[in-house]
């Protein structure tokens, strides 16, 4: 905050050489507006990333670290827990993100109907889950989906299932529970984006399509999706980055269990650093895997979306 003032003050004392001086002054003022933010991002994002890179070539317990070259990176391929967490994270990603995006698109198209009443009510209700903290909703879901929880009770009362489903203790169902939870939390969030984009599509395009005899499904795939492409790309990239970092839900719903069946990469990094005997070097190596995955998936999505942007 004091920086801009200081800059202005300091400049005022420089002997006046008119234009050059004036230019220098306005450049310095411009930079001083940015300074705090730029320094702080360098200090708390870029510098730690550099530190993590150095750490990833070191090994040892706690603060006693020594350089081990590429040993940590070699260890990745032989570490069954790590491979499981990568597999889990990728499963969440390739199942949850498309399902959520399609459902959100579907709901937003339904909501965009001109003759529909109570629009605001539906929109607010479906958006409501976004208000909850990740921890709070995770704990709620943990109890909803427990063996003797309300979900199993209801499903059994409705005779949909005969035996309670092991939502939290079966390796397969535990993953499903996590996916249901994340989808519940984020669907409304994505829907809002699509809804506002839908409102920008010219109604006459649909009318022309209807006259040409296009069915609602054709309209959806031939008009809606192409028009929403940029926003779908945006939401799928943010969802991908979010899912690759998944931590709060898994930590609070299943704690990574049963076994390591639901553990994510982020949780493994946490465990390596703060739960097991701390191995900061190897944890940093694992964390670079997430960085690489984020970059890869982002590039992939840009490629799939094709051309512009």
């Amino acid at each position: 905050m004091a920086t801009p003032e200081k800059a202005i003050h300091g400049i005022a004392r420089v002997p006046k050489k008119n234009i050059v001086n004036h230019k220098l002054k306005s450049t310095l003022i411009g930079w001083s507006f940015i300074a705090v933010a730029a320094i702080s991002i360098c200090l708390f994002y870029f510098y730690p990333m550099l530190k993590a890179l150095i750490l990833s070539f070191q090994s040892g317990t706690g603060m006693n670290l020594e350089f081990v070259g590429f040993d940590n990176y070699m260890r990745l391929f032989k570490d069954p827990t790590f491979l499981t967490t990568v597999k889990n994270t990728v499963i969440y990603l390739i199942v949850q993100v498309p399902v959520m995006i399609l459902l959100a698109l579907f709901l937003s198209v339904l909501l965009n109907n001109k003759t529909l009443k109570y629009k605001a009510f539906f929109r607010t209700a479906i958006f409501l889950p976004c208000v909850t903290s990740l921890v709070a909703y995770s704990v709620i879901f943990k109890y909803l989906f427990s063996q003797d929880g309300i979900i199993n009770q209801m499903l059994m009362k409705l005779s949909i299932i005969a035996q309670p489903i092991e939502w939290l203790t079966d390796p397969f169902w535990a993953k499903i529970t996590i996916i249901i939870a994340i989808t519940w939390r984020w669907i409304g969030y994505n829907m809002i984006f699509y809804l506002s984009a839908l409102q920008n599509i010219d109604e006459s395009i649909y009318e022309a399509a209807r006259i040409d005899g296009a069915s609602p499904v054709q309209q959806f795939f031939k008009i809606t999706i192409p028009n929403l492409k940029p926003i779908i790309l945006f939401t799928s990239i943010t969802s991908t980055i979010g899912t690759l970092q998944l931590f709060d839900e898994v930590m609070n719903i299943t704690q990574g269990g049963p076994g390591n069946a639901t553990m994510t990469i982020s949780q493994y990094i946490y465990n390596l650093s703060f739960k097991y005997t701390p191995d900061f070097g190897y944890a940093a190596t694992v964390s670079y895997v997430i960085v690489i995955l984020i970059v890869l998936f982002s590039i992939l999505q840009f490629k799939v979306a094709g051309d512009k942007q």
Partner: protein, 276 residues
């Protein structure tokens, strides 16, 4: 006409199901907060009369009020600092635009791709190494929670986008009236951009109030814990009292939900601002 009606009924049906699914966990949480633990496990879906008892038990068993205060202090401070830093930067990037600054801006944006999991170990070590010489910003302090999260490229981007629509003639008028550059910013820009600040404030406050991983890593003593940490601890207890836990979650969710409902428009505007 007939197909139109059928279509509409379909819309209502699907949207109603989506609404029930979205709201059910909330209803269950609120109802459970008024019931005894036994009733909750038996699947009672009607409100009971145990809310007061649950609140009493909750206050008795955990340090709820201090945790609420910790969370409030951290979130309010984070929000104020974030808005000042990000709006100054967003303004600077747009109003004093230059090639060099655009490059810096794009570099800063790259930080949005960095996952927090990759930062937490080096950040923890950073704060650990200064704990000795600066105990006030070391591990287990409020400052350590706030500092790394206070500047986000997202918020800078958000302010810059909003500044693009700002009529720059007004700023020039202010300069002619003899305002300093900082004066122009505080006396003209800030008051005109109220809605942008409101949107930024609610987004920042909510993410700070709900933040879990970094406080979990950096805060250690129980008296410093924030609401998400407290709820997480309650949720992982071996003999959970469901009524009490749901009461805690209701209390933790209420402030944010209220702010959300009051400022819903700004929140959505904030979300949209990120894609413009």
């Amino acid at each position: 006409m007939k197909t139109n009606k059928a279509k509409l009924i379909f819309n209502y049906t699907v949207l109603s199901i989506a609404t029930i699914v979205s709201i059910f966990p909330f209803l269950w949480m609120i109802v459970s907060a008024t019931n005894k633990s036994v009733d909750v496990t038996q699947g009672r879906l009607l409100p009971g009369a145990h809310l007061i008892d649950n609140i009493k038990n909750l206050l008795h068993s955990v340090e709820l009020v201090p945790a609420l205060f910790n969370s409030a202090k951290i979130s309010i401070l984070t929000t104020i600092l974030s808005l000042i830093i990000a709006s100054l930067a967003g303004y600077g990037f747009e109003i004093y635009r230059s090639k060099a600054k655009d490059i810096v801006f794009n570099i800063l944006l790259l930080s949005m791709m960095i996952p927090f999991a990759a930062l937490m170990v080096p950040l923890f070590k950073m704060f650990g190494s200064i704990s000795q010489s600066f105990p006030l910003i070391g591990i287990d302090t409020m400052a350590a929670v706030i500092l790394p999260t206070v500047t986000t490229a997202f918020l800078i981007f958000f302010f810059r986008q909003s500044t693009k629509m700002f009529p720059q003639d007004i700023l020039e008028a202010g300069r002619i009236d003899g305002l300093s550059e900082l004066g122009v910013f505080f006396k003209i820009y800030v008051p005109t951009m109220k809605t942008t600040y409101a949107a930024a404030a609610i987004i920042t406050f909510m993410s700070s109030w709900n933040s879990y991983l970094w406080p979990l890593v950096i805060l250690q003593s129980p008296e410093n814990q924030t609401i998400p940490l407290l709820i997480s601890n309650l949720g992982s207890s071996y003999s959970p009292d469901y009524g009490v836990i749901m009461t805690a979650i209701v209390i933790a969710t209420l402030p944010v939900a209220l702010i959300f409902f009051i400022m819903q428009k700004h929140f959505v505007a904030g979300m949209m601002g990120s894609v413009k």
